[in-house]
């Protein structure tokens, strides 16, 4: 993030050739001091790398069936380090694919919710008045609905289409984002520095670029990071019920569902996907908490 975005006196500071410490520099320094968040970022980086590169490098394919190796416990022989499942497929390869799917759902569905939420909240906050009331009343009503039922019905209606899973979950999770953005926009509109910029004749577009966007960005980034694990959980929930992605593709939720079925004979089919999922969610939550503390230190 360019420092002059956040600092109202950026140009002055640049002219005097002293490197200013912007809010974002401060935030980064605070984040780097947070050990849990930094560790989580490293682990998450490794997980992402594994999910992207792993399936190409790993000797076993997630769909290959080894007929004579059904329910093999974890072993280094033949590199079945996580064991094999009920059909003799390598569990590590399947966990990699599942992780890839879960991360993809997390990022894409969060982007969908981000787009809807920011647009909705910013419009309501900027325009204000009747429209604001109307839009927020809709959010209130949607908040109180048993959404999961609609997602389940949606899945049944349109079949188990991956893109639809992305959109459906994203479309469910935008409500809080809209509230946050609206609140922030309204608060900013009344701030003195925005008024000052207006009085100084700065154009509306530059005000939005220089003052509104950077200040709304903080909470949005924090909340987006915390939405990713929620979305991953939602997809896993659907997959667990057998409504998510379909074979031979898989997701961590689907693997956990199989593991729960087979746990009496093969504990590893439940433990490995479950542990991978928990590790991923842990990382996102710690990073999100760390970001919140870093960007908004008064919340601590």
């Amino acid at each position: 993030m360019a420092p002059q975005n956040a600092h109202p006196n950026a140009e002055l500071l640049e002219q005097s050739a002293i490197k200013g410490r912007s809010l974002w520099d401060d935030a980064r320094a605070r984040l780097m001091r947070n050990r849990a968040a930094v560790t989580s970022m490293v682990i998450l980086g490794l997980l992402v790398l594994l999910a992207i590169v792993g399936p190409y490098v790993w000797p076993h394919n997630h769909a290959t069936i080894y007929r004579d190796a059904v329910w093999l416990p974890p072993t280094f022989e033949n590199l079945h380090i996580f064991g094999t499942d009920a059909q003799g497929r390598d569990l590590f390869a399947r966990v990699l694919i599942g992780l890839r799917m879960s991360l993809a759902v997390g990022v894409v569905a969060t982007s969908v919710s981000l787009a809807i939420g920011v647009l909705w909240g910013a419009t309501a906050g900027f325009v204000g008045g009747r429209l604001d009331q109307f839009m927020m009343r809709i959010v209130d009503i949607l908040y109180s609905l048993p959404f999961i039922f609609f997602v389940i019905i949606l899945m049944v209606v349109f079949g188990r289409n991956i893109i639809l899973i992305f959109v459906a979950i994203g479309a469910v999770e935008w409500l809080t984002m809209a509230r946050i953005v609206r609140g922030q926009t309204i608060a900013l509109r009344g701030m003195e520095f925005v008024e000052a910029a207006e009085a100084a004749g700065v154009s509306r577009l530059s005000i939005i670029q220089r003052h509104i966007v950077p200040n709304v960005l903080g909470p949005v980034v924090v909340y987006a990071t915390l939405t990713i694990p929620v979305v991953i959980l939602a997809e896993s929930f659907l997959s667990f019920l057998g409504l998510g992605v379909q074979e031979p593709l898989t997701s961590l939720g689907r693997l956990i569902a199989y593991g729960a079925q087979d746990m009496e004979v093969a504990w590893w089919t439940l433990i490995w996907p479950g542990a991978t999922m928990m590790l991923t969610l842990f990382c996102f939550n710690f990073i999100g908490d760390g970001l919140r503390d870093a960007i908004d230190p008064k919340d601590r």
């Binding site: 389940i152 019905i153 896993s236 999922m277 710690f286």
Partner: protein, 310 residues
């Protein structure tokens, strides 16, 4: 107050109508029909069956018929289970789901507020870190992982508790409820203890608490009589979302522990295109969640005299 309730109800009625309408048409848009069987039915039989249930009519006519029946609290017959009405199916499943849900929320509030207060009173000390670490674990482990793991360890390996189903004769016995209730409550315990900690810390900083300490009240009295009362308020406003989360969670819990509740019925019915059962469950839960949200808001107003409903 009365006006406020009236206004909320006036919003609730169109909301429920919209939910019913959307669910109705979405369900009918789904490919497949409740009468798809392994071997296709003879055309004649199929037409007779469809005529019997009235689903051979044009869609808008079916919709108005359905709404008319609904106005008389008639949810119609199940399309899949012969000789059973939707009301009967719900009446069988709802007590199970409601018992588990009610016990879970009670457990979550009790444990959550105790743990949260404890963490707040020992802020930044080992007890605090311990509770908050556990809360993070509780939030991260989804019920569909926790459930099987608990069933595997406590049920299968240690043999302390039965792993699933209800007692064939007695139904819901305490030993069969422990695992589902605990699994369902754990994430809520985590969330509530975080909420409670934050609000307790804020309350403990306020002036009237300092006054209470200054006038020489023992700490125990300050906390139980003064601080706790104010600190539970945010929990009350969380009750609405919590009830929605429990409904969602119960779908998984009933699947994991093979309980005959309506969450499980709903998923099965949706997959089998049992239109009327799906609609019945959606309507029941939508009404329930809207009512619980309203009750939570009213309770908040009763407990917090600063809130005035105009």
């Amino acid at each position: 107050m009365f006006g406020y309730i009236l206004r909320r109800l006036l919003v609730a009625i169109p909301t429920i109508l919209i939910i019913i309408t959307v669910a109705f048409f979405m369900m009918r848009a789904a490919p497949g029909s409740p009468f798809d069987t392994e071997r296709p039915m003879p055309e004649e039989v199929r037409r007779n069956v469809e005529a019997h249930f009235g689903i051979d009519r044009p869609l808008h006519e079916q919709y108005f018929n359905y709404m008319r029946d609904l106005a008389q609290f008639d949810f119609g017959p199940s399309l899949k289970f012969r000789d059973k009405t939707v009301s009967e199916i719900i009446a069988e499943g709802f007590p199970v789901s409601a018992t588990i849900g009610a016990l879970s929320i009670a457990l979550a509030i009790f444990m959550g507020s105790i743990l949260g207060s404890l963490a707040a009173l020992r802020q930044n000390r080992p007890a605090d870190f311990g509770v908050m670490g556990l809360a993070m674990v509780g939030i991260t482990i989804p019920p569909f992982v926790m459930g099987p793991v608990l069933a595997l360890t406590l049920g299968l390996y240690l043999g302390w508790l039965p792993t699933g189903g209800l007692d064939p004769r007695l139904g819901m016995t305490p030993d069969r409820l422990i695992l589902p209730v605990v699994t369902l409550a754990l994430p809520q315990i985590a969330i509530i203890s975080r909420l409670m900690r934050a609000s307790m810390i804020e309350v403990l900083r306020s002036n009237y608490i300092r006054t209470a300490h200054a006038k020489g009240l023992p700490s125990r009295v300050v906390i139980t009589r003064h601080a706790l009362r104010a600190a539970v308020l945010p929990l009350v406003s969380y009750l609405g979302p919590a009830s929605a989360a429990l409904v969602t969670g119960s779908i998984v819990i009933e699947q994991v522990f093979q309980l005959p509740g309506i969450g499980r019925q709903f998923v099965t019915a949706a997959l089998q295109r049992d239109y009327t059962v799906v609609m019945g469950v959606v309507i029941l839960y939508a009404t329930l969640i809207i009512t619980l949200n309203l009750l939570a808001d009213l309770l908040y107003g009763v407990l917090n005299p600063k809130v005035r409903y105009e």
